[in-house]
């Protein structure tokens, strides 16, 4: 179809009179934009229609003019200058949602924001207290450890005092000078045996002994009828407290020698102290 055929197909009149359907309208508007002839044909028909309408006009009742123009100035009074009345009407149209729902929605948003703030606040608090709890737990563990150490020490000292005040205890002083032929490597050494005469338990208190070199350990001997009997190993960690050794029913002498770590069946090392029962 060429342009002239298109123009004389009745589409121009159909469009102008508002009888064309959606697709025809869109197509016609495109044709108008592209072809001046189509546009000219449309304008020509519009003009002839307009002239015909004006030629066959019917005067409306005179009072209508006043009514209509007054109504329009009323519209302009309510309208904000320059802005379209359509825009003005929008807030009314939008109120489709009931006010209660709006209040509920607004309250929900406020609650949500409040909840978020509280969450943040309490999370920070939680972190802070969590740290403090860990610190306290560590301190408590330390205290318990210290307490255990102190308890052990205290028990040891209690035993020591109990031993010293026990009337059944025989006290045997062992010193470096008593070692025959000045054989003690440390003549100032001193240790005390407390021997329960009833239970025959032997307790040892170190008063002064040089710190043994590594791999060596002091060993207590009871000399029974000239035969040395193992009476236990010394643990230097106990300090000056009284430490329970082996049960010795009978002995004439007590002596301490420096032996290999863990002790020897018979004394091999040098004797540090000796004491007579």
């Amino acid at each position: 179809m060429n342009i002239q055929e298109y123009i004389s197909s009745g589409i121009v009149e159909s469009y102008v009179l508002g009888l064309a359907d959606e697709a025809e309208r869109a197509n016609f508007e495109q044709m108008c934009a592209r072809h001046a002839e189509v546009r000219a044909a449309r304008e020509a028909f519009e003009l002839s229609l307009e002239q015909h309408a004006i030629a066959s006009q019917v005067a409306p009742p005179a009072h209508l003019r006043q009514n209509i123009l007054q109504q329009l100035s009323g519209e302009s009074a309510t309208a904000v200058t320059g802005s379209a009345p359509v825009v003005q009407m929008q807030p009314i149209r939008r109120s489709g949602v009931p006010m209660t729902i709006r209040y509920v929605a607004a309250a929900s948003i406020i609650l949500l924001v409040g909840s978020a703030i509280l969450n943040f606040y309490y999370f920070n608090k939680y972190k802070e207290f969590s740290q403090r709890y860990d610190q306290l737990l560590a301190q408590q563990t330390d205290l318990v450890k210290n307490n255990t150490v102190l308890q052990t020490k205290l028990t040891n000292y209690e035993h020591t005092i109990a031993g010293l005040t026990n009337p059944n205890m025989a006290v045997i002083k062992m010193d470096g000078n008593s070692v025959p032929a000045n054989g003690s490597p440390a003549p100032a050494s001193l240790a005390t045996i407390l021997w329960d005469t009833q239970s025959k338990d032997v307790y040892l208190m170190v008063n002064n002994l040089p710190k043994p070199e590594s791999g060596k350990q002091y060993q207590l001997w009871a000399i029974v009828d000239n035969q040395p009997v193992d009476a236990g190993m010394l643990d230097m960690a106990h300090g000056h407290a009284m430490v329970k050794m082996k049960n010795i029913p009978r002995a004439q002498l007590f002596a301490i020698t420096l032996e290999q770590q863990g002790g020897s069946p018979t004394p091999k090392g040098k004797m540090y102290v000796l004491g007579k029962v």
């Binding site: 004389s8 102008v16 379209a84």
Partner: protein, 181 residues
Amino acid sequence: MGITLTYTEQELVSLLRNRDNKAFAYLYDNYAAALYSIILQIVSDAELANDVMQEVFVNIWRRIEQYDAGKGRLFTWMMNIARNASIDTLRSRSYQNSRKNQSIGDNVDTLQVKDVLQPGVDTIGLRKVLEKLKDEQRILIELAYFKGYTHEEIAELEKLPLGTVKTRIRNALIQLRGLLK
């Protein structure tokens, strides 16, 4: 009316968009009678035509932003507003009437020329021109233009194939152009 044109269409549109009261008075004085004639051709009742007229000017006032000069002249735009408002009024009224008369019975079979064409108002405007068309064309223009039926609705009402309805309306319009010249 004998009033000399004081505005170009472009000037008039921009004044109307500024809600200029004088421009609306000018619009009324120059076009109200032509629009009133179009309204009367559709609603025929003078009292009703006055109401439609009021509605048409309120619509022009409210929708002037939507007017697109690229798609046609201002008068064409106003004319279509007048036609649509008239048809809407007629429909809402005939709907109310048909509700009232429902018990009388439904004789809405094929519409006859005498049922569709209203006597009395066909002496003005386009109706006068349409008299020169054949009846089979007149009735289709009547239904399409003055009653606002779609081509599909007309095909159903008139028991005609859709293609025939389209062709007849197109042919009628082509003749109308010749008659208006």
